[in-house]
């Protein structure tokens, strides 16, 4: 494994709401290495987005209570969760960047796209407006936007979803970050564009050697691109390992169920969906949180104070007592538009 770039240790993000305390992220730990692409997969409410937002400090400070450590190694050994505003500002853009799910709302609607890219360029580089403009143009060209000089003057509402997402990627990359967090970057795009964006991301990653955290609920997307996969459920990591391993030999019933829910190449029969729904994050039940929906669950599971069990080395973990009974799927492949 490459040298760690980011270490997340026992991250907890609790939100104080009217209805009670939402334990959105409940003890998550992982590392991201240099030039590594880590995927976080899970259904809505699993805590994957909150994890990313907590890492970069975008959670509403009034209602979020955070504990744990996030260490960005090039910056030192202190957790950036306690960083002061100025410190965080210097890291954002130049070291850590993030792109969001819905490109239509992720850009300022009343400022033209060019100016927004220029703003990103000038955030960490003292260059003249002219120089910033030409850098912006080349950034837009690099992400595949045709005729960038003209399109720069356009406003977000004049772009399609796919083009906007490219522009967002350009913004994120403006100051050459070393770690890009992508929160569901393809979810609101149609399938063909999804592929294009994913290829673009892969391409850029290989070019720049930056690391990525890719969050999605779509296992197919994750499996295409990532080196390692984290599976999250109800605020916890339930499985972790190299992508190929997790896909072909899952060790947690939830991962198994996720795999089963994706239509396979020649499959004709019914899709197997997961019965039931995730537990409330407010009154979190004790024991294994997936047990109520799990095919392999036993009485013991319901009262087991869960922890991640090492399976075949430090990088391969699963939060399950019966992990060796989870079925394998050597032929699993992401369905594509065949």
């Amino acid at each position: 494994m490459s040298a760690p770039l980011l270490t997340v240790r026992d991250l907890r993000s609790y939100l104080a709401t009217d209805q009670g305390v939402v334990r959105a992220v409940d003890g998550v730990s992982f590392t991201v290495g240099e030039a590594e692409i880590v995927g976080i997969v899970g259904e809505s409410g699993s805590g994957k987005s909150v994890t990313c937002r907590t890492i970069v400090g975008l959670m509403p400070s009034g209602m979020t209570h955070i504990s744990g450590e996030v260490i960005y190694h090039p910056h030192g050994d202190a957790s950036i969760l306690t960083a002061r505003q100025a410190e965080l500002q210097s890291l954002r853009g130049s070291q850590l960047a993030m792109i969001f799910q819905d490109p239509m709302t992720a850009l300022n609607p009343v400022v033209n796209v060019g100016d927004q890219v220029i703003e990103a360029v000038q955030a960490h580089a003292k260059v003249s407006t002219g120089e910033a403009r030409s850098r912006a143009v080349s950034l837009l060209r690099r992400v595949g936007i045709p005729a960038p000089e003209q399109r720069m003057r356009d406003y977000p509402f004049q772009f399609s979803g796919g083009m906007l997402q490219r522009a967002l990627i350009a913004i994120a990359l403006a100051s050459s970050p070393r770690l890009l967090l992508a929160d569901e970057p393809t979810t609101s795009l149609d399938v063909i564009i999804q592929d294009q964006i994913l290829s673009l991301l892969l391409d850029l990653q290989q070019d720049t050697g930056m690391s990525m955290i890719l969050v999605s609920h779509d296992l197919a997307v994750i499996s295409e691109v990532c080196d390692r996969i984290l599976v999250m459920y109800a605020g916890q990591v339930v499985e972790e390992g190299p992508a190929a391993d997790v896909i072909t030999a899952p060790r947690h019933p939830y991962t198994r169920a996720l795999l089963d829910a994706v239509p396979q190449g020649e499959q004709r029969g019914q899709l197997r969906s997961i019965t039931g729904s995730p537990p409330s994050l407010i009154d979190v039940p004790g024991g294994c949180r997936f047990a109520p929906r799990c095919r392999l669950a036993t009485q013991e599971c319901l009262s087991w104070e869960t922890e991640l069990i090492e399976i075949s080395g430090p990088g391969r973990l699963a939060r399950c007592l019966r992990h060796d009974e989870v079925e394998r799927s050597p032929q699993w492949q992401a369905s594509d538009s065949a």
Binding site: R12, A16, V21, G27, H65, S67, G286, S303
Partner: protein, 296 residues
């Protein structure tokens, strides 16, 4: 709940978060505005209705020996005016006129405007266009100016105040209700009701109206404040209640002449208007918080 989640860092975190969460949850806090407003309004109505019991002197009794007495004079809690008339008595009796407008004018326009907006919005097509033209037309005129002009033509009196308000105020309600109806009639439950064969009238009044009435009701509180101020304004300008009838606006206008020597004559009736106005405002705010998700 079985033991197991109390790992030490999460325990501390939970405590802090739970405290914060409990603070947000305080339901009483949310209802406070509504209760306060209702309390104030009830107090005002009670004082005004019970006026004959609370004050011994009728509002128009002239007492030439006791003119321009300041507040806290014996027998005259709030003083007397230039004719020796008791201010407190005039305030309580005068309140009848202003509150009558607040309730009488507002309720009529609320009902008429809502129905017109509902029907026009639901029927759509030409009815809707005509209504929107009328709405645009009315909104082109400054409200007070139009009311003044109408009263100018009809002649100043309390009744004509009502008439002028009835003619002009329904438009705001119609606009709100129409906008709601246009959205509502595309909703699933309306389509379902029609598919089941319910008549149009029934759909309008028993399906759409109950679900969307909240916006107009909240607006009616704001409108009530406006109408009270309007009544007082017209009285102030001499276009509403005529002397010697006690009315808060006319009292303020009279009091303006004595501003240097008897400041209370102009100030106190205004406080009465403010009091009732705040009552309605709080009720409106409280209802808004209650009925919507709210940004509190």
């Amino acid at each position: 709940m079985s033991a197991g989640w109390a790992a030490s860092p999460s325990e501390l975190l939970m405590k802090a978060a739970t405290r914060a969460s409990a603070r947000r949850r305080s339901a009483v806090r949310r209802r406070l505005t509504l209760i306060a407003g209702l309390a104030m309004l009830v107090l005002a109505i009670a004082a005004i209705t019970l006026a004959p019991i609370l004050v011994s002197q009728p509002p128009n009794t002239i007492d030439a020996l006791n003119t321009l007495a300041p507040p806290l004079t014996p027998d005259h809690l709030l003083g007397t005016d230039q004719f020796g008339r008791d201010v407190l008595s005039r305030i309580l009796y005068g309140g009848r006129i202003d509150l009558a407008i607040a309730f009488g004018a507002t309720s009529v326009t609320l009902v008429s405007g809502t129905i017109i907006g509902l029907v026009a919005g639901y029927l759509g097509g030409r009815w809707d266009s005509v209504l929107m033209r009328i709405v645009d037309l009315f909104f082109a005129f400054p409200f007070l100016v139009l009311v003044i002009a109408i009263i100018a033509m009809l002649g100043p009196s309390i009744f004509n105040m009502f008439v002028a308000i009835w003619i002009t105020s329904w438009v705001a309600y119609a606009r709100i209700m129409r906008a709601q109806t246009v959205v509502a009639k595309r909703q699933q439950y309306v389509l379902a009701a029609r598919a089941l064969g319910y008549g149009r009238l029934r759909v309008m009044f028993r399906h759409i109206l109950p679900n969307f009435a909240s916006a107009v009701i909240i607006f009616s509180m704001v409108d009530a404040v406006g109408n009270i101020i309007l009544a007082a304004s017209l009285g102030f300008l001499g276009l509403g209640a005529q002397p010697p009838a006690p009315e808060w606006g006319t009292m303020i206008s009279d009091g303006q002449n004595y501003i240097l020597s008897a400041w209370w004559l102009a100030t106190i009736p205004g406080l009465a208007v403010v009091f009732v106005g705040i009552a309605f405002s709080l009720i409106g705010d409280g209802l808004a918080d209650l009925l919507r998700a709210g940004d509190r």
